[in-house]
């Protein structure tokens, strides 16, 4: 037992000897104390102990004995938000909100030393969503929200108060009584066959309730990757597979009374493997005689895309007649999504009046409906008997467009009849989920003397790893918009995504484009240098314009149109801003400046079917209930949904109550991925609001009422009528959005170190529904992409294991690592999106790495063609080049 003063209240409760303070506080109902890394690196669990900020996950619980502990729940006094909490709302200083309580408490613990250098003081706090700029604004008291309502107003998210006070619920918050805990045993081998699993020792441990292995679960081939059409991803995965294809693959689950018991029992499982040769090199997996990972995939090819357009048979023919030629290969690395909430979920059973049980799952997912549908097939249950929902998701970035934990907790709950939770550790988030696809991309391009592209060819080798989740989609998407953005008579694509005995790749912000755009835009810069044409001018000469055909490498009809076009504006905005940028004093050392830019085009929504339903109902009190299926993980979709409905109906946003991310809310929603939040779900919301508006107008006319919703609601209620409207969007036709990124960097040619001196992104998002939200998406996307361009890399060791599965060894950018990015918007009105809006969530990521590479190439005098462009690699490249020159 330990006794503390918790938020001013004396509390005495049991704690196990090795328990950390975070676990103890959560057990007392302080759900605002978050688990992000469990290792003292991310700061999500920060609390104040006697007023001093500490990371409660690395503080032994017993050390708090007799001390006063303040959590986010204790910060608001008398129900009033403290000034810092209010400032976080006003500055838009959160997106998913998972880091927010810890961020606020860290700042609350500042003394004069920390306040003088907040970037240093916040080096143990990770925010993956915002890029920290609005947090810095909150520290400086700079507001971003406004009091206006309607389209174009910077309205705070409806959940804002809940986020800053720690009361919004994520997957593991407020668990049901009687909760059991699942833990997973994973393979240490990259390639092996399970010969035997001896569970006697594990079963002998008191408190073990269930062990699941491949012997205990349905043989159900599926893909963890989720799309509207489940056959879009190869069904190459089993719940548990006796054949091990990567180090980290799950081998067994143990469900027990506590996580500690489950963990001990996992370790006690005695597993006999036959270790097999592992294919770790993606360039060798197609070789004759290489072992085949999956029966359906000869030569280990998971997906292929090939095509060409134009008068020439080969790119070589085109290049032979070109004045300027580039032929280079670029390499992109594995990236970790680093959403601060790991994959997690809780399943339980609910009995209805007829005595029938339904399975209920709350999980951290971008795709509740698709998860439900897959579970229904997997478990052979009617869809109506399964509910999947998420209150708020602690970051996604594509990593939660996967079914990762829900199958285990569903199976366990159905067997045991009790609630079961599975929460990934941070290490598991690295080793047992997915990463960005590593790619090797050869680009060949030729231009005439005036810089007009004659031919463009891209050869892609993508590594999907052990399983093919998202392999086809990422490859196709990667080879699409990166090629469409330029007019060119001859285009060639030859891409393949291969299996290897490495951790599975999956969906990641940009969905293939961040890799291929790095290659194409780097090559364009090399072409600019080779031809002596200014890189901005080279884009203007070649970029696609309204009326041009949108052709990647085939001329198959499609549903993408120029709903609006702002690429030309973006180029001017970004270039002018870069020209205006002040360059600070660089100090001593061999510093050199360089400018770089890159452009990106993206379809505003995914192809092949993406659907959303929404419903709005006029409440008796004159407010409105909005039901929409899409999940909210900080993207701000729900904020814009409320704005669309409020504007259409002419009511205050605060009068709208939203239910979202719930299979019970509406008939169907494909999910929050592919930047669909505004253009598909938003369109459904807008249409639903229009339908309700028509209903209300008709009712008002029938009853000689004015336009006051309160009066209409009251009369409808008195007549026993409910006024409602529903809306639907099938995600077609689609439009295109644009992003232009410009950087000025300084590189120290002695040390290879870089500094970003200026960062500008101009975006064509159509009508910007909410500037605070959209700017936040862009700042956050740029920040995440700077991490991927300069710092981050998931490394695989010689045995196929992830070598750096922690935030200590995988460097996610901190506040001190990032520049301010100036965000500028083109002025366009999209004819396909809701009220002129386009998507803007994945795409800000895409032009960042090449723009940085192009700037660094000029500043360093050597061109980086692989990511990340760490200082030690720039240094080595400079050394190598000067060594070559001196020879």
């Amino acid at each position: 037992m330990i006794s503390i003063v918790l938020n001013g209240r004396a509390v005495t409760a049991p704690a196990t000897p090795g328990q950390c303070l975070r676990t103890f506080l959560r057990a007392q109902g302080c759900n605002g104390v978050k688990r992000g890394c469990d290792a003292g690196d991310c700061g999500a669990c920060t609390v104040l102990v006697d007023g001093a900020a500490v990371q409660s996950c690395v503080m032994p619980a017993f050390r708090a004995e007799g001390h006063a502990v303040t959590t986010i729940e204790g910060l608001a006094e008398g129900g009033e938000l403290c000034p810092l909490q209010q400032q976080f709302i006003d500055s838009g200083a959160f997106q998913c909100g998972y880091c927010t309580p810890g961020m606020i408490l860290t700042i609350a613990g500042f003394d004069a030393v920390q306040a003088a250098d907040p970037a240093r003081a916040l080096k143990s706090n990770i925010c993956r969503c915002t890029g920290y700029a609005p947090i810095a604004d909150a520290l400086d008291g700079i507001a971003r929200c406004d009091d206006r309502v309607g389209i174009g107003a910077s309205t705070p998210p409806p959940a804002a108060c809940g986020v800053v006070s720690g009361t919004v619920r994520y997957a593991m918050d407020a668990p049901p009584d009687g909760l059991l805990h699942a833990r997973l045993r994973r393979s240490p081998h990259a390639s092996a066959r399970i010969l035997h699993i001896d569970r006697a020792a594990a079963l002998a441990i008191d408190g073990v309730r269930l062990i699941l292995t491949h012997e205990d679960v349905p043989h159900f081939p599926y893909s963890t990757g989720r799309h509207e059409n489940f056959r879009d991803d190869p069904e190459d995965t089993l719940i548990f597979d006796p054949l091990i294809r990567f180090a980290g693959q799950r081998v067994a689950a143990v469900i027990a009374d506590t996580a500690a018991i489950a963990e001990a029992a996992c370790a006690a499982l005695d597993i006999t493997y036959e270790v097999l040769p592992a294919l770790l090199d993606p360039t060798a997996v197609q070789d004759e005689g290489a072992p085949q990972l999956h029966a359906h995939a000869p030569r280990n090819v998971a997906a292929r895309v090939q095509g060409q357009v134009g008068p020439h048979a080969t790119i070589d023919e085109v290049l032979a007649g070109a004045a300027h030629v580039v032929d280079r290969t670029y390499t992109t690395q594995r990236l970790h999504h680093a959403s601060l909430e790991t994959h997690a979920g809780i399943a339980w059973l609910e009995r209805d009046a007829a005595g029938e049980d339904s399975l209920v799952i709350r999980s951290s997912t971008q795709v509740p409906f698709l998860t439900r549908d897959t579970l229904a097939r997997m478990l052979q249950m009617p869809r109506e008997r399964i509910r999947v929902f998420c209150d708020r998701v602690g970051g996604g970035f594509g990593g939660k467009q996967e079914l990762i934990v829900e199958d285990i907790i569903a199976l366990a709950t159905l067997r045991l009849g009790r609630p079961v939770a599975l929460e990934y550790t941070r290490e598991e988030a690295f080793t047992g989920a997915s990463t960005r696809h590593p790619m090797q991309i050869r680009v060949r391009m030729g231009a005439d003397a005036q810089g007009r592209l004659l031919g463009l060819a891209m050869d892609v080798l993508a590594e999907t790893g052990a399983y093919g989740n998202h392999a086809p989609g990422v490859l196709h998407h990667g080879c699409n918009e990166s090629m469409i953005v330029y007019n060119c008579p001859s285009k060639f694509v030859d891409g393949v995504s291969v299996y290897a005995n490495t951790p599975p790749s999956g969906a990641f912000r940009g969905y293939g484009l961040s890799q291929t755009i790095f290659a194409v835009e780097s090559a364009m810069d090399e072409l600019a240098i080779a031809s002596g044409i200014d890189p901005w001018r080279l884009r203007e000469i070649n970029m696609i314009r309204p009326g041009d055909p949108m052709i990647s490498h085939h001329d198959t009809p499609h549903d993408v149109t120029f709903g609006s076009y702002g690429l030309d504006q973006c180029l001017v905005l970004a270039r002018d801003a870069l020209d205006r940028a002040q360059t600070p004093e660089l100090g001593d050392g061999d510093w050199h400046l360089g400018d770089g830019m890159a452009i990106a085009l993206i379809d505003t929504a995914p192809p092949r079917g993406h659907y959303a339903h929404a419903a709005v109902t006029l409440r008796e009190d004159g407010g409105v209930d909005l039901d929409v299926g899409t999940a909210e993980f900080g993207n701000g979709s729900v904020t814009t949904h409320v704005q669309l409905v409020a504007t259409t109906l002419g009511i205050e946003p605060t009068r709208i109550r939203v239910r979202h991310g719930d299979t019970e809310a509406v008939a169907h929603d494909t999910g929050a991925y592919g930047s669909a939040g505004i253009v598909i779900a938003g369109l459904a919301c807008h249409r639903a609001a229009l339908a309700l508006k028509a209903e209300m107008e008709a009712f008002a006319a029938d009853h000689q009422l004015g336009t006051d919703p309160g009066a209409i609601a009251a009369r409808a209620a008195s007549r026993g009528r409910t006024l409602s409207g529903s809306g639907y969007s099938d995600g077609s036709p689609r439009s295109v959005a644009f992003n232009v990124q410009a950087f000025r960097v300084a590189v120290n040619r002695d040390s290879g170190e870089w500094r970003i001196v200026a960062s500008i992104q101009a975006a064509d998002a159509g009508v910007v529904l909410n500037p605070m939200q959209c700017r936040g998406q862009i700042e956050g996307g740029v920040a995440q992409a700077i991490g991927g361009a300069l710092m981050e890399e998931v490394r695989i060791d010689g045995a196929g294991r992830i070598a750096n599965p922690s935030f200590r060894s995988y460097h996610v950018p901190r506040m001190a690592d990032l520049p301010r990015t100036e965000v500028l918007f083109a002025d366009t009105y999209d004819t396909t999106g809701p009220l002129g809006a386009k998507s803007m969530s994945e795409s800000p990521f895409n032009p960042v790495a090449p723009a940085l590479a192009n700037a660094i190439a000029r500043a360093a005098g050597v061109r980086p063609r692989s990511l990340p462009m760490r200082a030690d690699r720039i240094w080595a490249a400079i050394r190598e080049q000067s060594g070559e020159m001196s020879r």
């Binding site: 990371q55 690395v58 860290t106 080096k123 040390s751 200590r808 901190r814 690592d817 080595a876």
Partner: protein, 268 residues
Amino acid sequence: MDLHGVREIVRPRSVEALPAWQPGDVMLGGGTYLFSEPQPAARRLIDLAALGLSPARREPAGLRIAATCRLAELASLEVASPAMSLFAPAVHCLWGSFKVHNVATVGGNLCLALPAGPMSALMVALDGLLCLRGPGGALRDLPARDFIVDFLTTRLHPGEMLESILVPNAALARQGVLRQASLTRYGRSAALLIGTIGDGGFSLTITAASKRPLRLDFGTLPSAEQVRHAAADALSPDILHDDIHGAPAWKRDRAIALAGEIAEALRT
């Protein structure tokens, strides 16, 4: 994180009350490392904070810093002698922020023996003399420069505890300069060097780039060029630390450059 294998906490109120050492015992300093990774072998934590040692106190021979002195306490000591101005900068070289400084201890950082551990650099640079207490209560002194022998490896015997570090008066009187290189701003040290000058000449301590701290002593302050040469000779391939926080060749290059910078800085 929760350390599921731990069965017991022992909170000795004095060094005399330290329990007899047994397998599975782990000394708990601040806990910021211990609770950051699974510790499957740990069964009993011996809470050194319970000893109630004075964080730092003046003795005739110098400044005695308790192993349990928290980094925040070290950084906020009043600078009463020239070398103490190194304390706060060294603390800020820790990868963790002020929240970790509030809890992590000087002794814990030393005993962890990470190449980037800033307390290693500081105590080696300041001729720290470690006071070690054996499981039977026997005390021995060991110069900090001899304490860390390899990556994560010290000369601590099983059951032996680091109790305090004496920074001698002569070292406190020296002028010092600290330089750090990292792949990222405020990031993990790739090279962390401290140079001091005073009676007895110039000394250079190189850490982070090397698997263990390196200490180079010079009778008088040499030229920057000479210091760079000496650092280059000392940073032989076998001593370079290879990890994700910088390629070994780059770390070496940075350490050599910083060594020269330190010599320049101490000349003026």
